[in-house]
C-alpha cells in the first residue's frame, strides 16, 4: 500500500485456454520432475541391487519386496502428517501399545493377519486415549505419559507372549516377528490385505487432502470456517494408526517410530510443498521397506526391522546434510559465500574511505593493515574484488587500490548509506472483481 490510495484496478492475467491449462497442470513443474526422477532411481535400485548381489528374483522375493514396498509407502505418506502434527513419538507409544492387542487377537482367532491388525489398532488407540487422559487430568506431561503407557502396555504384551509361548503352539512363532519385524513372513495373501487396507487409507487421505492440510496447519481457523475439525482429526488419527499397524510387520514394535518419522523428515528437506513432501516420503518409505525386506529374505535369520530403519534413517541424515536450501552442508556453503560477499563489500568500503579521506583517488592501502583491521577474511575479499576488476594490487607491493569502476561502485553504496532492501509498496484497489 502506498501512501495514497491508488485507484489502479487489479488486472488478472488474461485467461486463455492455454494459460488455464497451464495453471491446472502446474504441478508438472521442475520440482515434480525432480521427484519423479528420484522415485525411478530409488525404486529401481532394489531389483538392481538384488541382481547385483547375485540373488535370484524369485516369486517369494517379489512378494516380500512388494509387501515391504507397499507398507513403506503407506507408512511414509501418512507419517508425514504425524510428523507435521508433532505426533511422531506418539507413534512410538502407539506401536508399543499395539503388542498386547496382537497377542489377544491371536488368543481369540489364531494367526489371522486381519484379526491381528485389528487387535493392534484397538490396543494402539486405547494407548493413545490413555496418554491423552493422563495428560488432561494430571500435571504429568505428555512425554512422561507416553513413557508410562509405552512401557506398561509393552510389558503386558510380553507377558501375554510369554504365556502363549508356554502353550507350545506352533502357530505362535509368527507373533515374535511383530517385535522386530519379519517381512519375510509376508505371504501373497497378506500382500492383498496390505494393498487393500493401505490403498483405502491413501484414498481417504486424498479425498480429504485439503481438509487434512488445513487442520494440520491451522486448526483454529479451520474450525472457525465451519470445518468439522473434531471428526477430521479423528479420521486422520485413525489413518495414522492404520499406517503404524501396517508397518509393524515390517519394522516391529520397537523400531516402528523410526519408519514413521525418518521418511517424513527426509522428504521435508527437499521440498516446500506438502504434496511433494508426502509423495517423497512415500518413495523413501517404499524404498527402505522394499530393500530391507529383500535383504532380510536373502538371509533368513535377519530381522527386517533394523535393516529398514538403518536405511530410512540414513536417507534422512543424507537429506538433512545435503538437501538444497535447507541442508546443513548447503547452508554452511551459503553462509561462507555470504561472508565472502560481505567481506568483499567491506573491503571496497574500506578502500574507498581510505582513498577519499586522503583526497587522492589512487592512494593505496596496505593489505596487512586491512587484515589487521578486518581479519583473515580481508584477503579473500580483496581477491574477489580483483577478480571483478574493482580493485587492483600494485605490482611489487602489497598495496591495494580501487580501480575507476571500483570507485564508482563504492560511491554508489556510500551515497545510499546501508544496504538497500527492496520494500514492496502495495496498492489498494477500490473495486473487486473475481
Amino acid at each position: 500500500m502506498s501512501d495514497q490510495v491508488s485507484g489502479v484496478r487489479y488486472q488478472p492475467e488474461p485467461r486463455t485456454k492455454a494459460s488455464s491449462i497451464i495453471t491446472r497442470y502446474s504441478f508438472l513443474s521442475r520440482e515434480w520432475l525432480r521427484i519423479a526422477a528420484l522415485a525411478v532411481v530409488f525404486l529401481l535400485l532394489i531389483p538392481l541391487s538384488a541382481l547385483a548381489f547375485g540373488v535370484e528374483w524369485t516369486h517369494t522375493l517379489r512378494t516380500v519386496a512388494l509387501g515391504g514396498g507397499i507398507l513403506g509407502l503407506v507408512t511414509g505418506a501418512l507419517g508425514s502428517f504425524a510428523v507435521l502434527r508433532q505426533e511422531g513419538l506418539l507413534g512410538d507409544a502407539l506401536s508399543h501399545a499395539a503388542l498386547p492387542g496382537i497377542a489377544i487377537a491371536f488368543l481369540i482367532s489364531g494367526r489371522e493377519l486381519t484379526a491381528l491388525l485389528i487387535g493392534a489398532g484397538i490396543a494402539g488407540w486405547l494407548g493413545v486415549l490413555l496418554v491423552r487422559a493422563i495428560v488432561s487430568t494430571t500435571r504429568i506431561k505428555q512425554d512422561a505419559a507416553m513413557a508410562i503407557v509405552l512401557s506398561s502396555f509393552f510389558a503386558f504384551g510380553l507377558a501375554l507372549l510369554a504365556y502363549i509361548q508356554g502353550r507350545d503352539d506352533a502357530s505362535q512363532a509368527g507373533l515374535k516377528s511383530f517385535i522386530f519385524g519379519q517381512a519375510a513372513a509376508i505371504v501373497e495373501r497378506d500382500v492383498w490385505t496390505i494393498g487393500l487396507v493401505g490403498g483405502a487409507a491413501l484414498l481417504l487421505m486424498l479425498v480429504f487432502w485439503k481438509e487434512f492440510k488445513l487442520i494440520t496447519f491451522d486448526m483454529a481457523f479451520a474450525r472457525a470456517n465451519g470445518i468439522p475439525t473434531r471428526t477430521l482429526d479423528l479420521i486422520l488419527s485413525t489413518l495414522i494408526v492404520v499406517a503404524i499397524v501396517l508397518g509393524l510387520q515390517l519394522a516391529g514394535v520397537i523400531l516402528m517410530v523410526g519408519l514413521l518419522i525418518a521418511p517424513a523428515v527426509a522428504a521435508r528437506q527437499w521440498t516446500r510443498k506438502l504434496e511433494q513432501m508426502v509423495v517423497l516420503a512415500a518413495i523413501f518409505g517404499a524404498a527402505s521397506g522394499a530393500s530391507g525386506a529383500v535383504v532380510s529374505a536373502i538371509d533368513a535369520g535377519m530381522p527386517t526391522g533394523p535393516l529398514i530403519i538403518v536405511a530410512a534413517v540414513l536417507i534422512a541424515f543424507l537429506s538433512l546434510a545435503f538437501a538444497p536450501e535447507r541442508g546443513i552442508v548447503w547452508s554452511q556453503l551459503k553462509q561462507r559465500a555470504d561472508r565472502r560477499a560481505f567481506a568483499a563489500q567491506t573491503m571496497m568500503r574500506d578502500l574507498y574511505r581510505h582513498c577519499c579521506s586522503h583526497d587522492n583517488m589512487s592512494q593505496p592501502t596496505d593489505e596487512a593493515m586491512l587484515v589487521k583491521l578486518r581479519g583473515a577474511a580481508a584477503r579473500a575479499g580483496l581477491r574477489d574484488l580483483a577478480r571483478e576488476g574493482l580493485a587492483v594490487m600494485e605490482a611489487g607491493t602489497t598495496q591495494w587500490r580501487l580501480t575507476p569502476d571500483g570507485v564508482l561502485a563504492a560511491a554508489q553504496i556510500a551515497d545510499n548509506g546501508t544496504r538497500q532492501t527492496r520494500e514492496i509498496r502495495p496498492v489498494v484497489i477500490t473495486t473487486v472483481e473475481a
Binding site: 500500500m1 490510495v5 487489479y10 488478472p12 485467461r15 488455464s20 495453471t23 491446472r24 507435521l84 479425498v207 485439503k210 481438509e211 492440510k213 488445513l214 494440520t216 496447519f217 491451522d218 483454529a220 481457523f221 479451520a222 474450525r223 472457525a224 470456517n225 465451519g226 470445518i227 521435508r268 521440498t271 516446500r272 510443498k273 506438502l274 511433494q276 513432501m277 520494500e423 514492496i424 509498496r425 502495495p426 496498492v427 489498494v428 484497489i429 473487486v432 473475481a434
Partner: protein, 259 residues
C-alpha cells in the same frame, strides 16, 4: 457497565454486525469472561483493549465457538454464527501456527476458500485468482510462491490478512494483528482497515497498544474479564474508563480527540 445506546447514534443501520449477551467463559473455577455484553454496529473499526489476561482473545474465540461458553450467546448480523459464517472472517494470532509447515503463501491464502469450496472439490482458477487478488491487496503478490518459513513477522501477518480477505466477508475479527510487526506493515494494516471500513465492512481488532487506539480506530471496548465500557472513542476512551479497566495502573493517557 456503560455502553452507548445504539439507536441514539445517527446513521447507523439498525442491524448490529455483532452482539454479545451475558457471555461468560470459565477455566475451571476462574472466570476468563464474566457476563459480557457488547453491541457493535456495522461499518465501525473497533479495538478491544484491556490488560493481560483480560479475556480479549477469549471473547472472540468464545463468540466464534472455538472454546466452550459457560453462559451467554453471540449473534452475527442477527443470527447464529453457523448461519452467518460466510459473512465473517477470522484472523487468529500469528503464534498459533507452525510457520515451518511446507506450504507457500498462495496456498495459505487459498485455504481461506476451503469453506466455500466444500468437500471433495479442488480449488479452481477462480479461487486462485481471488487468492492472488487478496495478496495484491496486502502487497505480497511477489511472495505468492514463497515458502512461509522465509517470511518476516510482518509478512506473516499480511498473509493471514489476505487469507481472511479472500473470504470477502462483511465482519472481520483480528487477534493482535499489530503484535511485533515492523512499522511499514503496521501502516499497511491500518490502510487496509481504513479501506475495509470505507466499504462498509466491520472490523473488530484485539489491540494491545493504547497509544494508537484513538488514531487507528473509531470505536473501542474496554475489557477486563468484565466489559468496562464500549462505544465510540470520543465518549468511551476516557481516563475514568481506562482507570477502571486497568486498575489504576495507567498513567494519564491523552484520551484521543478532545472531548
Amino acid at each position: 457497565m456503560q455502553s452507548q445506546r445504539i439507536d441514539e447514534l445517527p446513521g447507523i443501520t439498525s442491524q448490529l454486525a455483532f452482539e454479545v449477551e451475558d457471555l461468560t467463559v470459565a477455566y475451571h473455577s476462574k472466570p476468563a469472561l464474566w457476563d459480557v455484553d457488547l453491541d457493535v454496529p456495522q461499518g465501525v473499526l473497533m479495538a478491544i483493549v484491556g490488560p493481560n489476561g483480560a479475556g480479549k482473545s477469549t471473547l472472540i474465540k468464545a463468540a466464534l465457538g472455538l472454546i466452550p461458553r459457560a453462559a451467554g450467546e453471540a449473534r452475527f448480523f442477527g443470527t447464529t454464527y453457523g448461519k452467518a459464517r460466510s459473512r465473517v472472517g477470522y484472523v487468529p494470532q500469528r503464534g498459533s501456527v507452525d510457520w515451518d509447515f511446507p506450504t507457500t503463501v498462495l496456498d495459505v491464502v487459498m485455504m481461506g476458500r476451503y469453506g466455500e469450496i466444500g468437500w471433495f472439490k479442488h480449488p479452481t482458477d477462480r479461487d486462485r485468482a481471488a487468492a492472488l487478488q487478496a495478496l495484491h491487496q496486502v502487497g505480497l503478490s511477489e511472495f505468492a510462491q514463497r515458502q512461509i518459513s522465509q517470511l518476516s513477522g510482518g509478512q506473516q501477518q499480511r498473509t493471514f490478512l489476505a487469507r481472511a480477505l479472500v473470504q470477502d466477508a462483511d465482519l472481520y475479527f483480528m487477534d493482535e494483528p499489530f503484535a511485533a510487526v515492523d512499522a511499514v506493515t503496521e501502516r499497511a494494516i491500518v490502510e487496509l482497515l481504513r479501506t475495509l471500513r470505507e466499504r462498509d465492512k466491520t472490523v473488530i481488532v484485539v489491540h494491545h497498544d493504547l497509544q494508537t487506539v484513538p488514531e487507528y480506530f473509531d470505536w473501542v471496548a474496554l475489557l477486563n474479564v468484565e466489559m468496562i465500557a464500549s462505544g465510540p472513542i470520543e465518549t468511551t476512551f476516557t481516563e475514568d474508563n481506562l482507570r477502571a479497566a486497568y486498575g489504576g495502573r495507567v498513567s494519564a493517557i491523552g484520551a484521543g480527540r478532545s472531548v
